[in-house]
Symmetry: D2
Subunit: 278 residues, 4 copies
């Protein structure tokens, strides 16, 4: 069931004053994602610091530039072997049974004001039986509520803003879903990654929900098959996994991103299965 996937991203900057860059573009390496080959090239040549950050050990790359053009080119080929679990068998854990390390993902965060959505979440979803089916229902509710509209939101847009405006892009879909799930008492977090067949091609943002004893992937945008999601890293919300964070002064072009099956073929759509890659 594993598949080989090639991902690529190209970033281009013009640096106007000494600037420190922090990138989260390299794919995660864990038991579900095996990196066959990988390269990170920066022009002009300069030292690249590779490290791991955050409580989840997300892979980071840092560099500093004093001025001029800087381009970053990332390529990787991985074998993706997501865990597949019959969704009907997955339960929500009772709060008192949640492991301590997932409790923080119940807290509200910058873009997911779950504390303001308690009544809405319980009004809409409180009468459903807990379990995978309910999570799926929350995700579908977000899908149905919002319209995917590039340009309708910005970097300060939160889950509550999206609830009011009813339009957004992938990060907004994920933020609203995460906020609602946390309001219901379900640990939920944001995952940044690459997505095979995403149109238009870009980095993707989706969410991950704790059920039974693992993190399961969900995507309210339905823009690409979850079976082709390659994770970069995870965090509270998009604030934790920006593909690039800059301290200094630089201008940039939109990133060029791609992800495709290395051996061709089609992604099968899993039916009745939940996927995890954490």
């Amino acid at each position: 069931m594993s598949k080989r996937i090639e991902v690529a991203s190209d970033l281009a900057y013009t640096v106007n004053a000494p600037t420190s860059f922090l990138f989260q573009i390299a794919v995660a390496d864990n038991e579900h994602q095996t990196i066959e080959s990988e390269s990170l090239t920066v022009e002009p040549e300069m030292p690249i610091e590779s490290c791991r950050g955050g409580p989840l050990g997300n892979r980071l790359h840092r560099l500093s530039a004093d001025g001029g053009p800087v381009t970053v080119r990332y390529r990787a080929t991985i074998t993706l072997d997501q865990k597949r679990t019959p969704s009907g068998s997955l339960h929500e854990s009772s709060h008192s049974a949640l492991p301590a390390e997932v409790l923080g993902y119940l807290n509200p965060s910058r873009y997911c004001e779950s504390d303001r959505l308690l009544k809405l979440a319980w009004d809409e979803f409180g009468r459903m039986a807990p379990g995978h089916e309910r999570v799926k229902h929350v995700i579908d509710w977000v899908t149905d509520l919002l319209s995917y509209t590039p340009g309708s939101t910005g970097p300060s847009t939160t889950a509550c803003d999206v609830l009011v405006g009813r339009a957004g892009v992938c990060r907004d879909y994920a933020h609203l879903a995460i906020a609602l799930l946390r309001a219901l008492g379900l640990p939920a977090r944001y995952v940044a990654g690459y997505a095979v067949d995403l149109q238009p091609p870009d980095f993707h943002g989706f969410c991950e929900v704790w059920l039974d004893d693992d993190w399961y992937l969900f995507d309210a945008t339905r823009l690409a098959p979850v079976g082709g999601f390659v994770r970069i890293g995870a965090g509270r919300d998009a604030a934790d996994v920006s593909f690039a964070t800059l301290f200094g002064a630089a201008t940039s072009n939109p990133p060029e991103v791609s992800a495709r099956l290395a051996d061709g073929g089609q992604l099968e759509s899993p039916s009745g299965e939940a996927l995890s890659s954490a």
Copy 2:
């Protein structure tokens, strides 16, 4: 220079439906805080799960109750031995020199929208030389801007709200300071704790800023001497270190909290020194 401190907190609930409680009221145990004696008593008697949560290993206590009155009584006597560093010797690290594990404390969080405060922070503080003096200046700016006004803010109030309304309580002071410091590129986080001589007695919230190679304590409220701060735990903002998080349905009275020097005497005011206890 170490001192013995006694802390106490009493919480009382009436449980109306099966409820899971998560408490963060026990003092941190680390090289700066040695616990001499400690007790956590719950009435009626029931199992208490003790664990550590979050990336910082905050101490948590969990319990579940089906109904009726529940009281929680915590007592501890500790030896507090804060690290003292001449403040004039402390520098801000350049962004590229920050250790990976503190980078997450540059990100905006639920109550600290540093992403919206970049221009303000750089307008107000960008021309000052980086270092402890600048951090102190940010803290003083918050002290001067706000009026300490119980009841003026609520659980949804953010740093930007406080900037507009100019009034708040300890958590609001800390949130605004943290947001401004992150906007300047300084890792900053929220600490919940006990504070000797705090008037009126309550849990306290303050902030911690990364300078050189450690976390240093700051408090914009000036309501109690930093030398008497006993830490419970730290996090992105108050969302991470609520003294009590409930899933279920219960009503409560305000907590009764106290902290005092076990051997009497007065807290000396450190001058020209920065304190740390992380």
Copy 3:
């Protein structure tokens, strides 16, 4: 079909510094509301200025006090003769046919951010045939969405806040309804008044929508029969018709308010009729 109604309100203040008071507590006098008798008494005795303000000529009373206790007692008996129109005969005017004097009630206002709700309003109500039925549907949608919860909102709460939090009091119900109707292109405004049989007794806030060629009354709270609504005044939103606006420093108790049928009996519930009193 006319009825006699007695209304009363009592306000009590303690003035701590010279304070100017602006009251909107006197009932409107127009072709639908005939004032039989009316009194406004202030203790201690002082000059009361009576005037009309705002584009709608709302009745205002102003007074100034330097200190001490001030009580305001208002009593009126009126004959209420609301216009009744078969609701099935009422149409929404096309935008180009709206009279110029109602166009301002399409604009967003402090508590009714209709500009942020365009997509939601058209998603939810855009496919319905325009007319009284659609307005009623919007009102019912608000009724079903919200829970009437005193204390859940405050003086800064807006329609968008209420949409997120799903709880509020009469002014919040009215604000959300008004914002949605304006977003649909329907002039809508806020009316403050007295309401017979309102429980608990208080001033009431409801809304008024322009259909065909008049303003029709709607109330999403369903807390009291519209047939017993006695108008004080109208405006963009609650900001325009506060029962009391103070410039200075005074503390107050909650107002005591009542409204009842002067001749006893029961308010019949109009069915299939829209009421207006503007």
Copy 4:
């Protein structure tokens, strides 16, 4: 002291579905603004309804189009004869002496949340002696606080947002000034107009404050001399005087706007005088 001014604006739309247009682009005609000549031309030819709306009788033009391109061309030559008053002689009226018709301009509005800014306004400006000097100080405070930055704000941006973000365009400067002045108890409103020598050329937004017994013009942007401000209309805030309001579906280009002295020469800068044109 009067001067002749030529103003021009050109608007271009592509109508995609039947659309009703409401324009506020024609200059006000009052004792300070005498219209010598004026033309409003629409292509293709269609009926234009001319009316007056809002409490201030702003001039409105309405038209409807079913589809295709629509261009609107407005030209006017006026004689502007602003009233000039020595600013040192102008006083703030006490609240109890304000005429009833200006009281509404003390209320918060969509983009001017004066109710949230009471403490800030009184902290910053409450110790100054009331009068023109204090108003000027508020305006200068806004000028100094903000950076004029096209693109930094949008149609939903409010005074509080601008206070946080510290950047904006003319409407944002006006909104923040208005909100602060209302918070101080000064009636203030928004004026839309043309401004001689405005760079880049565009419609302009500024504010008007009630002093003694008239509305005086102020502009925190300092982008053009107040002596060359030609008023279109006034309202609570920008929501009331949009140059174009559309109900339907159309796309547009940015308007082309100009204003110049008809007889050449330079605008003298009034010093020590307040100007009014209401």
